[in-house]
């Protein structure tokens, strides 16, 4: 719509400056309709009525600066992009007007102008391409897919596999597992020598008479044969240990006869 608005005044036979001014005014009315400064520049470039390759960037810069000036007069708020472009174009304009400075490094004013023209041409090219793309026959508008598709299914089937080796190894693993159960000592029915020593040491000092070893078995260890065996063995071992240190004496009258002990205080 904006485009139509511009095309009108641009047809005016008046010189470019007038057309540009009119165009700029038209632009200002609808600045929201523009997609950034490049878009505005492209619109202004069209008012020059020449191929974008031969456009006068100097004139374009003037047109744009007029556009920005008018926008300010009308107190329209312009986005920062537009002002940055205005500043840059003012700079470009001055460089294009001055003779080139041989000391100056970087791109020449002509290079910068040429690139701007390229950008405009490229944007124009993309716009035309987009229009041609949208003018193609479109699916759902001009051509149609099957309305009632029957569908292509892709089902996934899982095949489970195992080999005979897996089977045998699995069985072997099971059948040998019990054979290798870790050995656990049965501690419930074992009276250790440490326990016997601990028990005897405080008692032995008070024993002045020969006393049968079995009298020193702890309570609850004399009944059950397994427990009795364990307690007897450990108590005997403890007495030997204590005899070695000289705190008690042992006495046995004959083979398998009762073992008697007494303290040596």
């Amino acid at each position: 719509m904006t485009e139509d608005f511009i095309e009108g005044p641009a047809r005016d036979p008046d010189p470019d400056a007038v057309a540009a001014r009119l165009a700029a005014e038209a632009l200002i009315v609808d600045v929201d309709g523009f997609e950034g400064p490049l878009d505005v520049l492209l619109m202004l470039a069209r008012t020059q009525k020449v191929d974008l390759r031969t456009i006068s960037v100097l004139q374009l810069a003037r047109q744009y600066l007029v556009f920005v000036e008018r926008a300010r007069e009308l107190r329209l708020e312009l986005a920062a992009d537009y002002l940055v472009m205005a500043a840059w174009l003012a700079f470009l304009k001055s460089r294009l007007l001055l003779p080139p400075d041989p000391e100056e490094e970087g791109p020449s004013a002509e290079d910068l102008a040429a690139h701007l023209a390229f950008q405009l041409e490229r944007l124009e090219g993309m716009r035309k391409a987009a229009a041609r793309l949208m003018a193609r026959d479109q699916l759902g508008r001009d051509v149609f897919a099957r309305g009632e598709p029957e569908g292509l299914e892709r089902s996934r089937k899982v095949v489970w596999t195992a080999t005979l080796l897996d089977l045998m190894q699995g069985y072997a693993r099971l059948r040998t597992r019990d054979d290798f159960r870790p050995f656990v000592m049965d501690r419930k029915d074992v009276f250790t020598m440490e326990a016997a020593l601990e028990r005897l040491r405080p008692l032995i000092g008070a024993v002045g008479e020969w006393t049968d070893l079995t009298a020193f078995l702890p309570d609850g260890w004399a009944g059950d044969p397994a427990r009795r065996r364990s307690a007897t063995a450990s108590t005997f071992a403890a007495t030997l240990e204590l005899a070695k240190t000289g705190v008690l004496e042992l006495h046995q009258t004959d083979t398998f006869g009762p073992i008697r002990i007494r303290g040596r205080a």
Binding site: L152, S155, V158, W160, L165, D179
Partner: protein
């Protein structure tokens, strides 16, 4: 002549070949079968939908798609003999879980085996899913009920199991001694532990009271 607009713009109906094209496009794009009435409403004035349909049906004769009548409406459908092309199976191979392999091995070596027996040997409970998977695979099946209190069901291996594992009979499963000789038992248990589990006897044993061989 009843439709003034159509007859104004197109005094003549398009040729039948063109009508056939139109019917073809409409049926193709329509989300539901189309009745003759609807066709007449959509086609240019003066078209003969039944005639166009008849031509189209002839054209599709023997093709990959057919013109079919659904009630009083018409639709294009793929030929029934090509239905197999519409589903495509992708096969994924997965290794059986350890639980499933062990359960299967127990059934194979001890069949008929009850669930309680499987659990006793594995030392853990057997999930329902594992048994179901093996039943699904057709590698085990229900045997006769055990004649003990509770009459528990037993499991036996199938013909499909033997086919898969390349066994002529469950007797062909190697015994523990052979497994050991083959190096499948990683280490040798202490000698005096062994006689207690006369494994080979045991495994052979079960085939003496041979499981009912299934007919497949």
């Amino acid at each position: 002549m009843t439709d003034p607009i159509a007859s104004d713009t197109l005094f003549e109906a398009p040729p039948l070949a063109e009508q056939e094209r139109m019917v073809e496009a409409v049926l193709f794009a329509s989300a539901a079968p189309v009745t003759i009435g609807e066709l007449h409403a959509r086609l240019p004035h003066g078209c003969d939908a039944p005639a166009a349909l008849e031509q189209l049906a002839k054209r599709y004769d023997g093709r990959g798609v057919r013109l079919v009548k659904v009630g009083d409406a018409w639709a294009i459908r793929t030929a029934a003999d090509l239905a197999f092309l519409m589903t495509r199976e992708t096969v994924e191979t997965r290794k059986l879980s350890r639980a499933a392999i062990e359960t299967l091995a127990i059934v194979a070596y001890h069949q008929p085996a009850t669930r309680a027996e499987i659990e006793e040997i594995r030392g853990v409970s057997v999930s329902k899913g594992t048994i179901e998977q093996l039943l699904d695979l057709d590698w085990i099946k229900l045997g006769q009920r055990r004649q003990t209190p509770g009459r528990p069901v037993t499991f036996v291996v199938t013909r499909a199991f033997m086919d898969h594992f390349g066994l002529a009979s469950p007797r062909d499963l190697p015994g523990l001694k052979e497994l050991r000789a083959a190096g499948l038992l990683e280490s040798t248990p202490p000698p005096d532990e062994l006689p207690a589990r006369e494994d080979d006897d045991q495994t052979d044993d079960m085939f003496e009271r041979a499981p009912p061989e299934e007919e497949h």
